[in-house]
Amino acid sequence: MYRYDQFDATFVRERTEQFRGQVARRLAGELTEEEFRPLRLKNGLYLQLHAYMLRVAIPYGELSSTQMRKLAFIARRYDKGYGHFTTRQNIQYNWPRLDDVPDLLAHLAEVEMHAIQTSGNCIRNVTADHLAGVTPDEVDDPRVWGEIIRQWSTLHPEFSYLPRKFKIVVIGTETDRAAMRTHDIGLKIVRNDAGEMGFAFYTGGGQGRTPIIGPLVKAFVAKEDLLSYLDATLRVYNMHGRRDNIYKARIKILVQSLGAEEFGRQVEEEWLRIKDTVLKLPEAEVARIRSYFAPPTYENLPAYIPEFEAKKSADPDFGRWVRANTDVHKVDGYIAVSISLKPVGAAPGDMTADQMDVMADLSDAYSFGEIRVTHRQNLVLPNVRKQDLFDLWTRLKAVSLDEPNIGFVSDIIACPGLDYCNLANARSIPVAQRLSRRFSDAKRLSDIGELRLNISGCINACGHHHVGHIGILGVDKKGEEFYQVTLGGSSAEDISIGKILGPAFSYDQITDAIETVIDTYLDQRTGPSERFIDTYRRIGIEPFKEKVYGGSKERRPAAE
């Protein structure tokens, strides 16, 4: 993991003290709320429906056990005993008091964390593949580049007052676990024909009210040119992005209005001017940062561990959990374990302080003290020995962190919705909770197989509904909560934007409607290996429409 050196540590301390001063000036009336707003936002502090919310950055989704313990401490001391992991690999606290925030930030600084640029119209916390460094077939480790981008973007003097927020993600494989093309800049680490490593720039993706799949703007940028090409892109955006209408201010609108080719030409022109100047990345700095992400000292283990295989068949619950919640590791004898934060009936992404402490202990015991946060609001222990898996599972079970549903329909992404958010049309969390109760049977879940269900409480799409295999969007109908369903979205390498199924459903109808959609899939699929999204792509939306709106007598009675 990256560790702060004297420069990083000094910087974060200075930033905390600066914010302490800003809060004091606000409380003294020296700053208007309007002037304070962008300052607090750049320190992750939102004003929500009921209270302030603080969003803490987890750069590229990586946490140490020490940091996790500190997050637990903060949850107890400054929140109501829990935290909420977000789709941007961050954690949010819903109840901090304004005058406590400087101290809270000082606590974070002690463990090399901060809340810088988790909000506001600036370059946001950079995200990455949650299996970075452990997944096979990786061209390079995205965390190295995530850290370089974190430093470059931190308090960038030129790009702190952009037209709108700016989100960058890095992945290192063909498989996309990080919704790469829904970002303002999606970076895919690639090799060119000469075998050199570099970056493909997918610029101008986004969700919100205008979902756009980021087009490939430049197929190869050499690694030493990463920062200069980013700089050029941001400069073109900062000068030409729209500032008259916040709904049209994201870079995606600029890229669409110019066309990806013309946009790319303008960036290229700027880039050629600056590429050989101060932003060229010295190899020594890349090597310095890379050294922090050196693999832990893995043991020499066989790929096949008989006792582990035996346990899987002896205990079907364990076997099911292993099948659903683990990913292949690049090192024999190891496995990457996902911990679902979607137990039946829970608010997706929520975790209690006690669970956080347990996670910290488990990561020390089984995963070199390292934890990842995924954009689907789950956690990962990236480096577990297969032979330890049964013990790990047993200990997870004791704190209800053993839900075997990763990638299944109850592994729902949901935004805070009307329970917390002042922009919401409808509640998201209770809909997620009802659905997760309806689909609580582990056997049924694994029979349905991979199915990404995402819920947003309004068109801002914080819950990624456009790119869910099934998306649910809260809409307002004459003051009543309604839910529009979209089908066929995907945020993976086969990215697509979902299509609207038909008229929206009431809060009481939505669970049944989703169940009918899923039953239709089960009827229509060619076999268990055809995923929901594949069936949808094969047969289109009509059969689903017919079942959902045509034959209401076939609907099962609500179970709740």
Partner: protein, 172 residues
């Protein structure tokens, strides 16, 4: 009105001229880009320095051919959230090689001041109701910088690798 240079208040030597006002004799005046375009020749006949102000939707590239005759470029921040002029300052310095004075006018807030200096702005006109001491304080808040911007501040990266100018010359 005062202007700030490196946090220190200075008397303002420049007069910002309304488009219909006659330039006072001998005064250094700042005219709008529109007026500069319309009256470039007669303005150049005067014997005093000329400055041109740009609105936040007017790129300094518009002045590219005139910069050697312009002693000051005033960049406007109509709202503090409108950050275009941060890039314009860099375009002026890095792309157009402008060496004259760059001044920020409009809603320039204390918490943006350090950023302004870092992108190449020399002087600012803080809004009248703001406490000017705060601006000097703002310059002391940070000692670590991550981005190379062609100002004199060394970046963390260069210091880490001993590439900073002072060590380099000490070693020599």
């Amino acid at each position: 009105m005062v202007v700030l240079k490196n946090g220190v208040p200075q008397p303002n030597e420049w007069v910002r001229l309304a488009d219909d006002a006659t330039p006072p004799d001998g005064a250094k005046v700042i005219v709008t880009f529109e007026r500069w375009q319309a009256e470039r020749e007669s303005l150049r006949q005067r014997n005093s320095a000329i400055g041109v102000s740009l609105k936040s939707d007017q790129s300094p590239l518009l002045l590219a051919d005139d910069l050697d005759r312009v002693s000051l470029v005033a960049l406007e921040f109509p709202k503090f959230t409108d950050g275009r002029s941060f890039s314009y300052a860099r375009v002026l310095r890095d792309r157009l090689g402008y060496r004259g004075e760059i001044r920020a006018v409009g809603q320039v807030l204390r918490d943006q001041y350090l950023f302004m200096l870092r992108v190449g702005i020399d002087t600012i006109e803080p809004p009248a109701e703001k406490r000017v001491e705060g601006y000097a304080e703002a310059l002391t808040e940070f000692s670590v910088f991550y981005q190379p911007t062609n100002d004199h501040r060394e970046t963390a990266l260069r210091l880490r690798h001993g590439l900073n100018k002072s060590t380099a010359s000490a070693a020599a």
